[in-house]
Structure formats: C-alpha cells, structure tokens
Symmetry: C2
Subunit: 433 residues, 2 copies
C-alpha cells in the first residue's frame, strides 16, 4: 500500500536534506563573496521559450505542464536567465547572477541520475572579456573547496579552436555529432571514439587527424603552438585561451588546455571548461546526474560551462555576450554522503511527569540562548525519552529530577560517553554553546 | 518580442530574491532551534497521491505534468509529508520536520496571488498531545518575529467544538460549505455570511444559532463556558482548547479562542489556528497568495494550520496523529518589500588600465578576508566603473591609481558621502569588515 515518488525522483530525508542545505549555504556564501546576486524564476516556462534554444535531444527531455497550456518544466537555468536578461534591457551590466534551484529532464533514469535535480549556476552577462571566465572558474573552484572538495582539476578549451580544426578538415564547423564523439575520448578511450567517428561517415584520414588533435599531450604552451601552427583560423581561440590561462594564474588557479574537451551543448561560442575532482567512485553509474561526466574511475566533472555569446540574442534580437558555469549539486552531495550534522544539540528530559513543566521552561530558555533544544511531546517516561534522543543523534541531555529541582540545578549528560555533571542552567548553556 | 513568465508566475529579480533568501534563512534558523529537521520531496507526485486527500476544489487546482503519465505538481507540502511518513514506518516519533519549498495551484491569478508560491511548513507527526500545537505556535510566532513582524495575533479554535455545535443544530458535522461561509465572518461581515448560509438552505433559526455562536465575544474562559453549557458533545474540544491555551501561556504566547475560525481544509480533526499581524495593507487584493486571509484592512493570516489525525492513515492504513502550521512566504516578502540588503560591499576601481592587475590582486585579498568585492570585467574607464558601483548599490570603492601604487596604499571611498581616505589595504579590510 506504500506510495512512492514518481519514477526518476526521490525524497531527501532529514540527513540528506541537511546535507543539501549545508552544501547550498556554503556555495551561496562564496558566490556572494564574488559579487553574484540571486534570481529566481518559475519552475515552468512557455514551451516556446524552452524550445528556442534547445536541440532535438533536449526538446524530448522537456516535461510538459498543464492541459492545453503550452508550458514545460525548465531543463536548465540558462534559458530562464536568457529570458530574464532579454526582458530587462536596463539591467546594469555586467549582470552577475547566481541561481540555485531545481531543473527537470524527462530522460531515462539511471542509478545516481535523476529526472529532477539541483543546479547551482553563476553567469556573467554583458561582457566578452576573458576576465569573466577567469573569475567564474576561480569562484566555482572556491565554492567546491568550501564544500570540502580537494584535488580539483580544471580543463579548458575553446570552440573557436575546434571550429578552425574542423574547417581545415573540410568538416562542418560545430558538427555536434562529431563534437560529442570527441568529447568521450577520455571516458571511452581512443578505440571506441575512432569507431564512432567512422560510423559518422568520416574517412580514415579525417579520423586520424581528429584523433591526433584531440589526444595531443604536452604543456599548455606546446598545445597552443601546435594549434596556431596547424590551424591558422584558430588564432583568435588560441589568443583567448592564452589570456584566460594568464588571468587564471593571477587568481592562483591552474588549468589544463584539453583539446578533446567539447561540452555537449551546441550553443557555446568560445571558451568551454569543466572542473573535475580526483579520487575514485565505486562505479561509473554512481557518478551522479551531472551530464557528460568524464574520466572513468574518477569522479568526472562536478562543474562545467562555457561562453554563449549568441544565445540571449535569440530572445531579444540583440547580441549580448554571456558566459557561465554550473555546479552539479547531486554529485557533490554524493561525495559528502554521511557528513551532515544533525540539528538538535540538547534534549531536556523530565525524570517524572511532575517535572514536565520545568523541562519545558528550560527548553524555552535554551532556545532563547540560541541552542537548538527539544523536549518530550509524547508523554513518555525517562527511558523512552533517552531512546528518542539517541535515535535522533542528539549529543546532550539535560535531566530534570527531584534533586535538580531542590538544588536549583540541572544534570547535563553526554549521551555518547554517559558522563553526567550537575550544573546551574547558565553553566549548562555555556557548555552547550 | 519580449517573452514573459507563464500566467500567474513571476521572476524574482536580485533584490526580491535576496529578500526571499533572507526571509527563508531566518525562518529556517528558528525552525532548527526548535528541533525541526528538513525534508525535500519532488515537485511533482503521482496524481493518485495528490488526489487522495483533496476535495473537488483542490483537485481542479492541480497542474498536470508529463504526457500520458499520471503526475501533478504538488499543491501543498502536507500531502508529500503524509506519503513520506506512510512509507517510512521506522521514523523515530515524534517526527518533527520543516519543509520550505514551492507549491503550485492552477487557480485564477489575482494581484498578489500566484500560481506558484513558497510555503514554509513545520509539522509534528506521531503525537496527539496539545504540547505539539503549543510548540508549533510558539515556533511559528518566533519565526515571524525573527523576520521582523510585530503585533502578531494568534487565534485558535477546535473542529470538535464546531462539530458538536453542528450536531446540536442537526447539521451534518463538518459540512464544508457551511464551514467556509462561517470562516468569512471577520472578512465579509455578518450580513454577507447570513446571506451565504441562507443560500445554502439553512432556515432562519439555524442561521441565528450559527451566527450567535460564531460571533460570540468575551474572554476565552467565557467562550469555553458558553460552549460547554450549550454543546455537551464539545467537551473534548473545550478541554483540548483549555489545555492548549495553558501550554501557550507557559511559552509566553497569548492566543484568542475565535469560534468563527474554521480554516478551509476539510481534513482537520482538532485544533485549528492562524497567526495574523496588525497593520493595514493598501488594499485587500494586495494581501498576497496565502489562502483564506481574514480581516479586511488588516494583513490577514500569515500562518495557519491545524491537526489532521486521519490524513496519514489514508496513505498507510494506520492512524498516525499529526499537526502542522504553514507560513505564507510571499505575504512576508510583501511586508518586507524594499528591505533587502545588496551583496557586494566594495568595488575595486582601477584609475588607469595599467593598474587593472593590481585591482584584481586586491579583490582576491578582500574576498580571502570574507568581504564581498567586485572588480571591473568590462574594460571600463574609472568614471564608468563608479557608475556601475552606484547602480549596484555598492557602498564603498577602493581606488587604485598612481599615487596609491607608489605609496603602497589604497584610497577607500564612501560612495554615498564621497568621503575618501588613504589607507593600507589591511586598514581598509578592517574598515570594511
């Protein structure tokens, strides 16, 4: 008779929900420190708004809303941003906003990949300068570190470099299927990608050239030199990359130019980037819902983004440069599983029914002092009150009994060690603060 | 060419979104102090789950989701709670949870009443004791005060009293249409309610008796004595009310027994309650989306709830007592309009292009010190940098120019007064902290 959540969705029970709040609070604090301010937009949008940007693949993933109304749940936070910017021409530029909220995708659920998930995005609208990308990456990295991640790896590339390389090969610039195949190089290995490319109709020479390009090793400078030598049209992309890497160094942020990095979205126009974290997860399937994770055996990308200078123009007819990065919250939560702190600090237990009033008075005083406290609401005996406090992971109990009342004191009990001491309430408050 | 949000929904631009975050942060902190822990549930549920509880009126308000899938957006946070509790029999009781999230209702939008809005709920599951209601009301009141509200008025009633009164009149206990008519007494006045009751088929004697009962004035004790004298079957409801009022007094919380208070939901079984705030709003239409507001010219209810001992049983076949209260967040935001603080504390301006590097270095140091800071991302001249800082409401600027670099200092400018002083960066950090 139990009812479950809809397919591909889940409940967050208290420990998980506390972890979510903790992650979002920390991320938000860093976003604010960098001067980003929040917006919030409706969960659903007009279908026309959603479909303007999306390719066929994303279009299929839209959850329809309403009956006869042409509405759909948003599948990311970038489309709502584009609509907001297009509709508010007077916003001071750069418009730096964060948006932390849920999105929905009607795709096949997998372990750790949900139909409803959280994103935490920062975007900068109105500036074409590489200062933007540098700041976004520094901010995202600091946010991930604030949450407790270490060994973060930043990879960057530039669509202008990819386009130039494609042009040289006589391939259609930005051919998304080829982009997507290349993007899986690190995840699936060279052989699988070569096969994919052949099945897309590329001849042996094209496949070889692409693979040589995408799997090039070396320092950032060596790669840039290679690009500039071989693909003349990539000059602008190479210059942007060089500038971005220099600005990142100013922020103390290291990054690797990875020529196989594409990112799946077809509206990127310049720099693309992602942040991964070292360290293994138990299986590829457990890497969470963040799309396009890389590196089998590693954690894959936990943040990703790019520049999309043409997108907002679709909504207002006027070019507005923009760039952004999105943090995958579910993946962060998975990495931090079991690390949430419970809320209540102390349980005030009445040894007998006649002391229940006194227990309630004490709990009022504790809360006034800012200490999260609870008292029995079930008419339970002392033993059962302790059982509840233990089940809830409450670290301390204050016990109110005959002796305590007589002496005007309380007994403070450490629920883990069992240690008890009699104190004045003020002393107990100090110990608990 | 501008695209708008779907009918009945809205964007929250940065100042409003900051206000929302501020309100929710404050409310959440108080909920935690009382020992409530969060849960989160999917935005949509199986229609079967949503429709189990709701009357016809609510059913019409469900936004359908998906194509061919029987899903709908949740219209409140109580149904998801009931499903969660029913599906997790081993949860320690009492289960005290808060849930702060969005809900959706497909009803006719009005000014200040949206199809998408926030609720902040606390509920206690597993206990039938009046300690629960007392704690809920004390907690909700403190949360509203934490947000900045004053002159809060708490009204309570008990469905058992209403049922007994109905039984005495030979009316069907819990007849929702009559309940709803009565509930509007304070809002619409006696004449309108009498007319409503007559149009529901009540005869003159019944209307008189109902009106006499619902509009009774006097102290809480006088009302309880009247109830006990006239409606024998209300004994239990009167006793519960007496106990609740005594427990509230322990918390230092005053409440008024209001015999016309019904609350529109048909699943309440015992105490019902609401919290209103004194002070006028400009018009009745501006009172926000919280349902069933009362008191024309006042702010109406900003929090409301009741006991629903039979609801969870619908989902698990086993009676589980529960009670809860819901805060209307949009209404709170409206009351606090214009009170949000902007995020960025200082803008670091480069007097000339050659000092841009130095400006970026300073902004990195400020952020390290926890001070929200921004630097130009647009390649702007000094005057335009100041214009932006002013447009964003940033209170201070740090200026980096030739003299500052030479002396190893910065100029700290108060953007409002125009006052400037030269300081070491450390001194500036201290002033800004």
């Amino acid at each position: 008779m139990a009812y479950s959540t809809p397919r591909g969705t889940r409940d967050l029970m208290p420990e998980q929900a506390l972890l979510l709040e903790d992650v979002l609070d920390k991320v938000r604090l860093v976003f604010r420190k960098y001067g980003y301010e929040p917006i919030e937009t409706p969960a659903f949008e007009e279908l026309e708004v959603l479909e303007k940007k999306s390719g066929e693949e994303v279009r299929k993933q839209i959850f329809r809303v309403g009956e006869g109304e042409k509405l759909g749940l948003r599948f990311d936070l970038t489309v709502p941003l584009a609509r907001v910017v297009a509709g508010n021409a007077s916003l001071p530029k750069p418009f730096k906003r964060y948006h932390i909220s849920r999105v929905w995708r009607h795709e096949e659920p997998q372990k750790g990949r949900f139909r409803e998930f959280y994103q935490a995005d920062i975007d900068i609208v109105g500036s074409a300068g590489m200062e933007c990308e540098a700041e976004l990456l520094a901010c995202a990295k600091e946010a991930l570190e604030a949450v407790g991640l270490e060994h973060l790896e930043i990879r960057v590339n530039n669509r202008k470099i990819l386009d130039a390389m494609f042009a040289k090969l006589g391939l259609k610039a930005g051919a998304m299927q080829i982009f997507r195949a290349l993007d899986k190089l690190e995840k699936l290995g060279a052989e699988a990608v070569e096969q994919d490319l052949r099945s897309l109709g590329l001849n042996a020479g094209e496949v070889d050239a692409l693979m040589k390009f995408a799997s090039m090793k070396g320092s950032n400078d060596e790669k840039l030199a290679f690009v500039e030598k071989n693909f003349g049209a990539a000059k602008e992309g190479a210059a942007e990359t060089r500038e971005l890497l220099a600005l990142l160094a100013e922020y103390g942020v290291k990054a690797e130019l990875d020529l196989s990095l594409v990112r799946g979205l077809d509206y990127y126009t310049g720099p693309v980037f992602e942040i991964g974290a070292g360290g293994p997860l138990s299986s590829a399937e457990e890497r969470g819902p963040f799309p396009l994770g890389r590196k089998e055996g590693g954690i894959g990308s936990i943040a990703a983004g790019g520049r999309y200078d043409d997108l907002i123009g679709l909504y207002c007819g006027k070019a507005v440069p923009a760039t952004g990065i999105s943090l995958g919250i579910e993946r962060l939560m998975e990495l931090l599983k079991g690390k949430a702190k419970r809320v209540t600090r102390v349980y005030v237990a009445a040894a007998k029914d006649e002391y229940r009033n006194e227990a309630r008075k004490i709990v009022v005083k504790l809360r006034k002092a800012g200490i999260p406290a609870q008292v029995d609401l079930m008419g339970r005996k002392l033993g059962k009150q302790f059982e509840y406090a233990n089940a809830m992971g409450i670290p301390y109990a204050i016990i109110v009994g005959e002796r305590e009342i007589k002496e005007g004191k309380v007994t403070l009990r450490n629920m883990k060690s069992g240690e008890e001491k009699m104190l004045s309430l003020d002393e107990a408050v100090k110990e608990l603060s």
